[in-house]
């Protein structure tokens, strides 16, 4: 009688474990979908006419930067990526004391509404709210250092 009871109990345990595994799998699938959310990429760039500022990392962006700012060469000083999560502020340390705070507000048809704050040290350089489609670029012209300009390039990558 006791043996029969233990066998039944094992079956119940097994079925419980199976259900838990299925639920866990479903949870993981859900998380996987969630982690495929859009991401933001911020690059800190130095625009210069000095040949030392040549940077192969910015080959894709160089024509656009040249058109907007006119410098011959562009050097990537820092880059950070972060996944976007609604109303959650991300801090992107871009190097040289520059930090970008990003808070996604909403997303409509792959157009992301973002609150951005670009800071350096204790100073808030600029605060903005932008609606930026995935794949588009936001350039921010920042401070001048010697004959060069410090620029911020922001883009949103889709899921």
């Amino acid at each position: 009688m006791d043996a029969q009871h233990e066998r039944d109990e094992d079956r119940v345990r097994e079925s419980r474990h199976l259900i838990m595994r299925v639920l866990l799998a479903l949870l993981l699938v859900g998380l996987a979908f969630n982690t495929q959310a859009a991401s933001i990429e911020a690059r800190l760039v130095r625009g210069s006419n000095d040949t030392k500022a040549v940077d192969s990392k910015l080959q894709d962006l160089e024509p656009k930067l040249k058109k907007q700012f006119g410098y011959e060469y562009y050097q990537q000083l820092g880059v950070q990526k972060a996944r976007l999560q609604e109303n959650k502020t991300r801090r992107l340390n871009l190097g040289e004391g520059f930090v970008l705070f990003v808070t996604p507000k909403s997303i409509v048809e792959k157009v992301h509404e973002l609150d951005l704050e670009w800071t350096s040290g204790r100073a808030s350089l600029v605060k903005t709210t932008v609606r930026i489609p995935e794949g588009d670029y936001l350039f921010i012209k920042g401070p001048a250092v010697a004959d060069d300009w410090i620029l911020l390039v922001v883009t949103v990558h889709g899921s």
Binding site: K64, Q68, G70, T129
Partner: protein, 183 residues
Amino acid sequence: MSRHQTETISGLLDGELKGFRRWTTERHVNRCPICAVEYRRQRHVRRMLQANPSPVQMTDSAEFFWSKVKAEIRHRGVKRHQTPGLLPVWLRHHPFAATGGVIVAAAVFSAVLWMRAPEPLSHPAAAAPTTSAKVERVKTAIPHTTATPLSSDSSQVTVIWVSGLPWTPNMNAMKTEFANLDT
């Protein structure tokens, strides 16, 4: 023109004066020996400068220089530069008339404002031409600094131009500058 105004004489030589002002200034210069001497002196200096122009040295390429000029013009908008006029000179010597003029001007301005239908205030961001990305709001907390969204020829690019940020000679100086700049 009752007083000796070197700026006005300079304006006459530069061709900035037109119409009545030009006529009165020329008349004064012809009659006033002090201004005639000043006129001849300035004309002599101009001729010497024209004959011996200083060589222009540019560190930037022409293309880059014009891109900076265009960007600055877009940022500042159209600002008219005015040379000192005949009326302000006259007003300086008649302070009561100046005060009265200011009161009358203020009254007229107030009346115009009062009669005018109210219009919605436009934010700089709203005035920017529509691009694919749209700047809803933009501001900067640093004094004497402005942040302006600019239109771009490229459909995929939007630019925010922050002007008036402190200039520094190198990256370390910049870090120190902003580390001490509390906003």
